[in-house]
Amino acid sequence: MLRRLLASRATPMFLFALMLLAGGSPVHAAAVQPVEMLPLSNLSAGDTAWMMTSAALVLMMTGPGLALFYGGLVRRKNVLATMMQSFILMSVVSVVWAVIGYSLAFDAGNSFIGGLRFAFLREVGAAPAEYAPTIPHSLWMIYQLMFAIITPALICGAYAERMKFSAMLLFSIAWLLGVYCPMAHMVWGKGGLLNAWSGGQFAALDFAGGTVVHISSGVSALMCALMLGKRRGYGKVPMPPHSVVLSVVGAALLWVGWFGFNAGSALSASPLAVGAFVATHFAAATGALGWAFYEWLKSGKPTVLGAISGAVAGLVVITPASGYTTPMYALLMGLAGGVFCALTSTKLKHWLKYDDSLDAFGVHGAGGTLGAMLTGVFAVAAVNLPTAYAAPAGQVARLGWLEGNHVVMFNQLVATVLTWVIAIVGSLIILKIVDVLVGLRVGEEDEYDGLDLSQHGESGYNLEDAFSATFAGGGGATLLQEELQVVPAVSHH
């Protein structure tokens, strides 16, 4: 139903989006200055050290972090395919990014998309770019790449256990270019429509990717869930996580890696980075408590899956605010995120009856949206003041709603809605195209056997030595002659 509705509405929504873009772009295309390069003398070893560490931490979030978190939540027969989705994106996105993705996101261009100056990483070297004045341009590029990797990887949670590997690859590449790069450019790119630091029309606050990463991936995830439809047997047969143990490990690594994600977004080893570090930690803490205690009250038992999901929810909510708010507000935001996402991932999902397998929307889409708005509420000028909100001489600067700045709420709303629209329209169009090209879903037999076997010809665990090691020759698992000279397998019939 909702699915058909969306499909039918895709074109008009798309046109509306185009208009929005058109509205802004011409005006600004002209105005935007090229990205400036700074002298090597600007480089700081301390900042460079921290940013390399952060880049490594953010990659660790996807692999092994997310691979474990998602891999543990699926059924045994899909564990490898699910981990593979995270892992292969570490590869595919990197290539696309080097060729053109980075340029589309961070070259100046217009308010919506960057140009081609940095294609094939031209001019991306040791000299710092204005984006991050104290570290090599190439470090800024690779750090941003790690964000571009995890964002499509988050979407996997929605189509897990049923999407074709080929379709998943095509979708991710197209989505990166068609949704992620424009979003990154608008929010962080020079002259971007929503960039509060370099003259965007709508000065939105998004320190580390609430809109760019979480809303965009979460909402697109919802589209995937709706377009692919439910897993066969969903709601009839139970689909328990095959190993919450793996998921706990993944969640803990996500928590640790998130320090690179948020504190790294300060682009320096500065007090601002430390502030983001602290806010991040506290929000994760209360997020876990929020979800677990909600369950405790509601059903009598706090679950481990709830606690780890809540921690992630808290991290999602604090992401856009981490460099703009205080530790104490972070405690509140995390708590709100934990409880809110618990509701969207259980009640809402069951009420709307879509199968968001691992709650990619429930956590990232819902949490990201909440976070974007709360960032407007709890931002504090004293923590970090974007140029767009600089106060006239003599007056005291106001940033968040609580400080009396109302326009920021409007800008957060614009950024949020625009992200939703782009994610919905972009994803639907891409999904339709991919569906036509290769088909989105695996066949019934393949889904029943599991993606590990049907897509990759492997199984995640071979724990029964007896069976895997002795059924040779006689029809059991046996090395065929093709590759190894073996006693010919007895044919049975």
Binding site: D449, S459, G476, A477, L484
Partner: protein, 112 residues
């Protein structure tokens, strides 16, 4: 009494359980097993080493019933477990000379 041993496809377990419950048979013991027969296995590859896994996962059900209920039970299992494809499985019936319920020590038909 008779012991019905039915080897079925794992995803039919639920249907069979339900069918048996319908005719009042609630006691069942299930064992995971691997079957060899006409139905083919699958292939896996690890670094080019190709492996042909010849067995198929099955579930073995053991149901002890009063002799008079036996036919009814067999028929409803056949009906519930059939997909019509190779590998649906088999049912074997063997006589049971004695049954005991451990909790109460009740014997034979009372024990079921």
């Amino acid at each position: 009494m008779q012991m019905i041993e039915a080897i079925i496809k794992p995803h039919k377990l639920d249907a069979v359980k339900t069918a048996l419950a319908k005719i009042g048979l609630l006691g069942v013991t299930a064992v995971e097993c691997k079957g060899f027969g006409r139905q083919m296995g699958h292939t896996e590859r690890y670094r080019g080493a190709k492996m042909d896994v010849g067995f198929v996962p099955k579930v073995l059900l053991k149901i002890c019933v009063k002799t008079e209920d036996c036919q009814k039970a067999v028929d409803s299992i056949v009906e519930a477990a059939r997909t019509g494809e190779v590998g649906d499985g088999k049912i074997f019936v063997t006589p049971v000379s004695q049954a005991v319920r451990i909790r109460t020590g009740e014997r034979d038909e009372q024990a079921l």
